[in-house]
């Protein structure tokens, strides 16, 4: 059995750190934009006009039934044929936003549809307009209701972003690839990168579970526990 040399990889910690930071950055941007897309699409499916709900439905089904790597390759390699030139980083963000948006749409839709009727009636009785009813009364508790599912989905997208290294986006798996190409420590590089991904996943989950009640949906039943 070959001797393992983890030190050779750990010496490259600046590159790993940069890669991890980039992964976090990709995830943060995608979570915000993808989340917004998800809210808009979730609203469209729950309360929008039939044609819009159907259109969003097609988008959601297409994304959920195709692999992320194919979506990424289509965006990065396929779109330039239409004249759209993208850097690996931009293509990665777009792919992650499109991907998260579709899953978030279903998650948010479930949250919206579980709003008790009385909440909407009370808000309308107070003369709030429909936009205010949705953003101030329906949406925050809806997000609170589905927050665990939403957090899980964001973590899934973050872990899925490892594939972006294949199109040379400078995230964590790309950093591991670079290290391995320098010192041929394949197993060690990937093991350490995997451990870092695990830590990132734990960190992101804890952070979002802390931030959600604080910044988004106040002290609803989901948050209280």
């Amino acid at each position: 059995m070959v001797a393992l040399d983890f030190l050779a990889v750990l010496e490259q910690w600046p590159a790993l750190l940069r890669g991890a930071a980039f992964t976090l950055g990709l995830t943060a941007v995608s979570a915000l934009v993808g989340g917004a897309v998800g809210v808009a699409c979730g609203w469209a499916r729950a309360s929008g006009p039939a044609w819009l709900a159907a259109l969003v439905g097609v988008y959601v089904e297409l994304i959920r039934n195709t692999p992320f790597i194919v979506q990424l390759f289509f965006i990065y390699f396929g779109l330039p044929s239409l004249g759209v030139k993208l850097t690996p980083e931009v293509a990665s963000v777009i792919a992650m936003v499109v991907n998260l948006g579709a899953y978030a749409a279903e998650i948010v839709r479930a949250g919206i549809e579980n709003t008790p009727r009385g909440q909407i009636e009370a808000a309308r009785s107070l003369a709030l307009n429909e936009w205010q009813v949705f953003t101030r009364v329906v949406l925050p508790p809806a997000l609170g209701r589905v927050w665990p599912a939403m957090v899980s989905q964001i973590v899934i997208v973050m872990l899925g972003s490892a594939v972006c290294g294949q199109i040379a986006a400078q995230e964590l798996s790309y950093a591991a690839n670079l290290i391995l190409s320098r010192n041929f420590r394949g197993f060690e590089s990937y093991l350490i990168a995997t451990a870092i991904y695990l830590l990132l996943a734990i960190f992101v989950r804890e952070f979002l579970n802390w931030a959600g009640p604080r910044w988004i949906f106040g002290r609803t039943a989901a948050a209280g526990r």
């Binding site: 009370a122 009785s125 107070l126 205010q132």
Partner: protein, 248 residues
């Protein structure tokens, strides 16, 4: 008294259907400013539906409805919102917003609809909470309050919009008996201060004490109407007699 002032609520020939089922079969009702009207009747008589028509939560097919000079125009969202600034509603299940503190529940509508600045809204909210006896609960969360306290916050929230008419839809039916009194006390004080109240209620003693007029609804129509002493002591129709005896 020369001329009667215009009624603050005027309902003419109101008809409402749910699908094929006609629930309100031509309601005519006028309520004067400052009047307290109790609406009683069996479940299915249409009393809650009538109340919910008055602030547009239910749409009606025929008839006219006017509140404080504003005609209710179905399908005109802006007109509906303008009307709802004059009519407050208290629900059986309170419907406080769980993600906002008590104070913020009360402040939300004035801030968004009347565009009050937040310090004015906060001051007014504190005053209203004091009025309903919950001044110290400004920072509390709805799930920390008892049912009676939540309902009183709901009253404060509706009052924050300074309505001219308050609709109360069985506001004590979901409360444990020992909590009913604290809510009725607040409603009584509103009546004493001259608020126009339309209450759907099962609390007959309360209606007898506070209402100026009692309306008995049966099968989608106003069956009997009159001063409480007269209506409760000497019901004229068989249906009302039956209803009152079933309560005891």
């Amino acid at each position: 008294m020369a001329i009667d002032p215009a009624p603050i609520v005027r309902i003419r020939s109101l008809r409402k259907r749910f699908g094929a089922n006609e629930v309100l079969k031509g309601i005519d009702l006028e309520v004067q400013a400052g009047e307290v009207v109790a609406i009683i009747g069996k479940s299915g008589s249409g009393k809650s539906t009538l109340l919910r028509c008055i602030n547009g939560l239910e749409a009606f097919q025929q008839g006219e409805l006017q509140v404080d000079g504003q005609a209710l125009k179905q399908g005109d969202a802006k007109a509906m919102r303008a009307l709802r600034q004059h009519v407050g509603m208290i629900f059986q299940s309170f419907n406080l917003f769980p993600h906002l503190s008590v104070g913020r529940n009360v402040m939300l509508a004035p801030t968004l609809v009347k565009h009050s600045n937040s310090s004015a809204a906060e001051a007014s909210a504190r005053k209203l909470l004091e009025r309903v006896g919950l001044a110290e609960k400004f920072e509390a969360w709805p799930d920390q309050l008892s049912g009676g306290q939540q309902q009183r916050v709901a009253i404060a929230r509706a009052l924050a919009m300074q309505p001219s008419v308050m609709l109360c839809d069985e506001i004590t039916s979901a409360l444990d008996p020992e909590l009913v009194g604290e809510v009725l006390k607040v409603v009584e004080s509103l009546a004493e201060e001259g608020m126009t109240l339309l209450m759907v209620t099962h609390e007959m003693n309360f209606a007898r004490k506070v209402a100026d007029r009692v309306v008995f609804m049966h099968a989608g129509r106003i069956h009997e109407m009159g001063a409480p002493q007269q209506l409760f002591a000497a019901p004229r129709t068989a249906e009302l007699q039956q209803f009152l005896s079933a309560l005891h």
